[in-house]
Each structure stands twice: as structure tokens, then as C-alpha cells.
Subunit: 392 residues, 2 copies
């Protein structure tokens, strides 16, 4: 459903340095929210050879052992030895976290809880399209599944010579009618032990990662593969590349298919609209598509710091709408309350649910589903009926 | 020319913490490129209360005094005293920079210089539209001009109580035909001395910053203003907010109007396609619009690490094309060479030109124009004639 005949999206694995930083920031957020749901958290992380630096602004009554959290995230990812380039047990952990500015806080905390002001100005987009069953663009969906699979076969021992750092990229070919029709190019680079040959690595990546994940009918004679094109990728993680929180915002969202407001997600409590309103935007767009009001939908929301009501709400249905555009806008305003307080309430965001969001995308999936829960509440299509009702 | 009737973009001033980080990263890049054009630089910065940490990967034969560069950037911005929250002379400067991984380097350096491989995989977009004379979307253009003006009246003494940190946001109303028709909302927050009253600040911001910058005909009775909505913004810069390189990528580009591939610009030498191919994308799109082939154009380019030829090049003209879409694509392939080597050559990117890119946008302006030069070579419309020729 894009105007492009070829569209490319990428993803990265949990061992990618920027993603290590995101996971540390969100693990810290979770640990604090678990004890103090009213905490204000903006946690930024930098990882580089032998060191993780945590920074940002946190105001809380919770006591959490930040150093242990950082170390356990790094170890959980698989960086447990200087042989693989990074070791959660022995790396340096430096804490330069400060407190939230009381001047910002006075803008956010209002007398009435309902009138809680936005934690910052900014613009956010939400998006959904019916090109996959999860109502996400296909290129980012498959880019994520490739690196997720890389982590699985690394962990379960299928390909024990894999190391944590990896990147994937999928170029999809779209037909005239806007449907995905085939895969033009797949790029996959993965960190590995020194003892695997390039030829063996390439074959194993095709057989154990690419083929099990990508739809067979989309892989043709013409599909091009670039697997570890540099030839060698033994050095990975923070040694090869400095990692920072919030540097994979297109991977985190729609792979470039939708617009982006620029705000990062990880490490931010939901009083920050960069995160909560982007989640709400996904929820709104997904419910519009699920209700059949459009097959493709993008919403832009913007805020002024300290103000509860958005400064703008706009909708784009790319000509795919089934009822008049203005009527959809009216129904959205009737069904969704986009003040920060209401978003946090309706999406139930004050829980320690964030660490799994930091890998493989914030949208189009629900890692908690296995546990019988839907903690990625912004993926619920629980307002589709209300939207239809508002229109009739 | 957007499908939205309201569209919001934001910008931030040079004293914003993320922008301090971007400027430090680009100042370091410039200092190294000035001595060693073949250097490989990926410089990431974190600023927080009393400290600037520089990190990333640099391989060079140049000797540069990094600490002095960091201090002078901070001082130049206006953070020269702990009274304003940060002091370039006395803050701590921590250097944890490493070298580029030789395994990445072997992918980039090929036997033939022309075949230089892309420094990373990734996707980039370029954009242009005829809605302003600089062929940029109007909302980001005016958001930038507001914060640029804030810096000017701070420096020239017109409003001497201003401090370096500021943010702007503009919501534009578009007419049915896609032309900007008025300003719905302006948000402006600026750091200030404690001795100015909120009422005086608001009046001065309207008179000296907003009115001189925004087109009078767009400011109506209905225009809403949010000026320092938190009420107080004395604490600013890195004390109030941790700053990181590459965290303002939408401000840096098209304010959200165009898609984004996710890669940051600042601190990266042009062997990194995140930067050079995004610049080339702007150049291509701008020349297409300047040649009258479309009034709005977006290009997506993607690369595999170590490969010279892009893995995909796609064009979107949003139905505004004046000749058949496939013919424009053909002309682009004929006129533009998008291998990293060719981009660096054609846009002449191996010079210390980057520090001014780090503030007020990488596109739609040319700060060097005053000096009689056009160092923002990606803004040249020097291929419009060639595009037309290729089509006839
Ligand atoms: C190419 S590096 C970024 C560039 C780096 N800052 C530099 O010095 O050029 C970006 C990502 O590519 C991946 N990577 C690292 N080494 C690689 C290699 N030898 N081959 C392919 N990909 C690699 C890692 O996921 C890394 O985080
Ligand atoms: C609101 S802060 C970011 C949030 C922060 N990390 C926190 O602890 O909530 C983002 C930016 O807003 C601006 N800012 C800081 N203090 C402010 C204030 N009191 N009023 C309005 N804007 C402010 C600065 O430009 C700052 O970089």
C-alpha cells in the first residue's frame, strides 16, 4: 500500500549496541515503575568498549540497584565474556543520572490529575495498514523476524557459533495494486565466532534464518542476498560501535514506511508523550484499519509542554478510506481521549512492561501474549466497534 | 502539498542538549577532516550536568586537541558559566573514543577507490517540495527560523535575558489545494534569566521573535500561542536534560513531512551513507522539483555494508509528476551516480564543512552563502538541466 514499487526496511538484534542501550534504559524504567508508578524517568545509556554509562533524569522514591540491572541486561543478551567483546560481569558501570528539573515537573503535575500536562512539546505519528495480518508494513515485519530468529537459533544451540550483534534489511517489491509481491533483496550481517568459514556461515544463515522466516512465495530466482558482505564480523557489540539509547527510532516503529516525529521511546516513563502518544497513535490507527474505515492510516498528534490537550490531531488515510475522511476524524475525537492522563489510563501504561518493547519493534507484536496477557495494550483492537458505532 | 490539513513540525536551538552533542560531534569531525580527509570518524557525544563525554570510533593520522574543541563549542554556544547551568571552561571532558573496527574498514576500502563500499547498511530518504522558495516543507522551515532568531536576539543584546536553550513548534494549516494557508499554533519555550517576568517574556518573544519571522498573513485572530507554557525555564541545557548526538534526526531533516531512514548525521564522515546518501537524496529530490518534473518528490535509497551500488533506489512523486514516473526514475539513474565514492566526489564532501549543519537543519539553507561559497553542495540545483536533457 505504499506509492513505492520497492521499499526497504531494516532491523537490528538485541546485541546491537544501540539496542543494548535501549534495553538498559527500559530495564531501569521497569525496575523503578515496579516500585513507584508515579516516578519520572528519562534514562539515557551509552555503551562503548568495556563501559556502560547511564544518564538522564529520574525522580523517584524507589530504591533500585541500578548497577545490577545494567550488568544483568548485558549478560542476558549474551555479552558474558571479553571473548565476545563485552562482559556484563566485569565492565565498568558509570552512573551520572540527575533529577527531573522541578520547572518541568511544575508543568506536568497539575492540580487535577486529569489535566496532567504533556511532559514535553513534540509531534508523534501512529500508523497501520492491512498489508500484513498484524496490520504493519511488511518490510519492517520481516526485517524484525530475521533478527529475532538469529537470536533464537543462537540461544537454542542450532547455530552455536552465532554472537549477539546482527542487522537485517529487506527490500520488498510491491505490485501495482500496492500489495507486497516478492522480495528483491535481503541483507543480513551477523556477528560470529572466528572458527566458522564464510561459506558455511552464509549457507547456515540462508537455511536456518532466512528460509524459515521469509514467505517462500516471495523468494524467487531474482532475489538477491547479501550475507555478511564485509566478509568478517567477529568484533561486534560496543567494541565495534558506540551504542546510544534512542538511536534506532525507525527500527522501533514502522521501518520508515510511516512518518516519524523524532522522539525516542526507551527509558521514558509515559508522562513523556514521545512514548505514550506514539503508542496511542498506533492504537488509534490500528483500530481505524481494523474497523475497515481505511486500509491504510497515519495519524499525527502534537503537544505543547505542560498542556493536556494536543495542539493538533490530523489524519491521513491516503485515499483508502471507506467513509468520508472528516467523519473518521470526528469519530476519532469522539472515541479517543488523547490527553496524557487519559492515554496512560486507557492503555494502562504505569506498569513494568517496557523492557520487551526495546527489541524487535514496539508495534505489531505482543511478547506477553504467550503469558496470556496483552501488555502491549496499544495493539488491542478494542475500539473498532466504538468507532463504527460513532459513525452510524 | 501534504495530505494533512494540519501539520506540525518542531525545532530546537543550538543550546538544546541534543544539539550541543551534535555540534561537538561535528566540530570534532571537522577538525579531523581538515588535517586528514581520509579519516574514518563516527563521533558520539553525551552531555549531562557538568560533563561532556565523547565516544565512538575514529581512525586518523591527524592530531587534534579534542578537549579544546569540546570546550570551545560549549563556550561558543553561550554556556560559559555555572550561572547558566554549564561552563565550557570548567566542565569535565571525558574521552572514550576507540578505533574503527578493521573488519568494517575492510568492507569499505576496496582496491578500486571508485568501488568504495558503503560504510554500513541502511535506508535514507531525500525530499523536496515547492511549497517554499527553498523547496522545503513550510512547518520545519519556520520552526527553524524561530529558534535561529532566538539565538540572534540573544547574541546581539536585543533580549539579553535570553539563555541558550530553546524549542519551537509550528502547526500549519493547509488549504484543499495543498498550499500553506495559515498558522494554527505556535509553541515556543526559551530558557531565560531569573529576573524577567513571565508576562514580559511572553510579550518580548511575540514581538522580537515570532512576529519578525512568521509571515504576517499567516498569523490570524485564530492563531494560538503557547509561550513558555511551563511558566519557568531558568534551568536549561544539560542540567535539565541529558543530550546525545543523533537524537534530533527529524529536526535535522524535514520536520516529519518526509519519511526517515533512521540514521543520524552529526559526527559521521561521508563514508557513512547515513549521512552522505541522505544528502544526495535531498540533492536528487531538489533537482527533480527544480526541473519542474514534480512539485513534490521523495526518494528512498538503500545500501548493503561493503557494497558500492545501492541495493534499491525508489521514487515517490505523490501524483504531482509532470512526466511519467518511470521516465523520471530513468533520468535519475542516468544523471546521478549514487555509489558512496561518486556522492563524495560530486558533492565534494571531504572538507570541514559540517559544524554549521548541526544547527537549524541540514537542508534548505546554506550558511556558507554569505561567504560567497556553497558548501552545502547538496542544495545546488546544478543537475536540473541534465535531468531535463535526459528526458528529451
Ligand atoms: C558498521 S557499524 C557502524 C559504523 C562504525 N561506527 C564505524 O566505525 O564505522 C554499525 C553496525 O554494523 C554492524 N557491524 C559491526 N561490524 C561489522 C562487520 N564487520 N560487518 C558487518 N556489520 C558489522 C554492527 O551491528 C554495528 O553496530
Ligand atoms: C522537557 S525536557 C525533556 C524531559 C526531561 N528528560 C525530563 O526529565 O522530563 C526537553 C527539553 O525541553 C526544554 N525544557 C527544559 N526545561 C524546560 C522548562 N522548564 N520549560 C519548557 N521547556 C523546557 C529543553 O530544551 C529540554 O532539552
Amino acid at each position: 500500500m505504499t506509492e513505492y514499487s520497492l521499499f526497504t526496511s531494516e532491523s537490528v538484534s538485541e546485541g546491537h549496541p544501540d539496542k543494548i542501550a535501549d534495553q538498559i534504559s527500559d530495564a531501569i524504567l521497569d525496575a523503578i515503575l515496579a516500585e513507584d508508578p508515579r516516578a519520572r524517568v528519562a534514562c539515557e545509556t551509552m555503551v562503548k568498549t568495556g563501559v556502560a554509562i547511564i544518564s538522564g533524569e529520574i525522580t523517584t522514591s524507589a530504591w533500585v540497584d541500578l548497577e545490577s540491572i545494567v550488568r544483568s541486561v548485558i549478560n542476558d543478551i549474551g555479552y558474558t565474556s571479553s571473548d565476545v567483546g563485552f562482559d556484563g560481569a566485569t565492565c565498568s558501570v558509570i552512573n551520572i543520572i540527575g533529577k527531573q528539573s522541578p520547572e518541568i515537573n511544575q508543568g506536568v503535575d497539575r492540580e487535577s490529575l486529569e489535566e496532567q500536562g504533556a511532559g514535553d512539546q513534540g509531534l508523534m505519528f501512529g500508523y497501520a495498514s492491512d498489508e500484513t495480518d498484524v496490520l504493519m508494513p511488511a518490510p519492517i515485519t520481516y526485517a524484525h523476524r530475521l533478527v529475532e530468529r538469529q537470536a533464537r537459533v543462537r540461544r537454542d544451540g542450532t547455530l552455536s557459533w552465532l554472537r549477539p550483534d546482527a542487522k537485517s534489511q529487506v527490500t520488498l517489491r510491491y505490485a501495482e495494486d500496492g500489495r507486497p509481491e516478492g522480495i528483491d533483496t535481503v541483507v543480513l550481517s551477523t556477528q560470529h565466532n572466528p572458527d566458522i568459514s564464510l561459506a558455511d556461515l552464509r549457507e547456515a544463515v540462508i537455511e536456518e534464518i532466512i528460509k524459515p522466516v521469509l514467505p517462500t512465495e516471495w523468494l524467487t530466482e531474482a532475489t538477491k542476498y547479501f550475507i555478511n558482505p564485509t566478509g568478517k564480523f567477529v568484533i561486534g557489540g560496543p567494541v565495534g560501535d558506540c551504542g546510544l539509547t534512542g538511536r534506532k527510532i525507525i527500527v522501533d516503529s514502522y521501518g520508515g514506511m510511516a512518518r516519524h516525529g523524532g522522539g525516542a521511546f526507551s527509558g521514558k516513563d509515559p508522562s513523556k508523550v514521545d512514548r505514550s502518544a506514539a503508542y496511542a497513535g498506533r492504537w488509534v490507527a490500528k483500530n481505524i484499519v481494523a474497523a475497515g474505515l481505511a486500509s491504510r492510516c497515519e495519524i499525527q498528534i502534537s503537544y505543547a509542554i505542560g498542556e493536556a490537550q494536543p495542539t493538533s490531531i490530523s489524519l491521513n488515510t491516503f485515499g483508502t478510506e471507506t467513509v468520508a475522511h472528516e467523519r473518521i476524524v470526528g469519530a476519532v475525537r469522539e472515541v479517543f481521549d488523547l490527553r496524557p492522563f487519559a492515554i496512560i489510563r486507557d492503555l494502562d501504561l504505569l506498569h513494568p512492561i517496557y523492557r520487551p518493547t526495546a527489541t524487535y519493534g514496539h508495534f505489531g507484536r505482543d511478547p506477553y501474549a504467550l503469558a496470556g496477557a496483552t501488555a502491549f495494550s496499544w495493539e488491542r483492537i478494542d475500539r473498532a466497534e466504538a468507532l463504527k458505532a460513532a459513525l452510524s
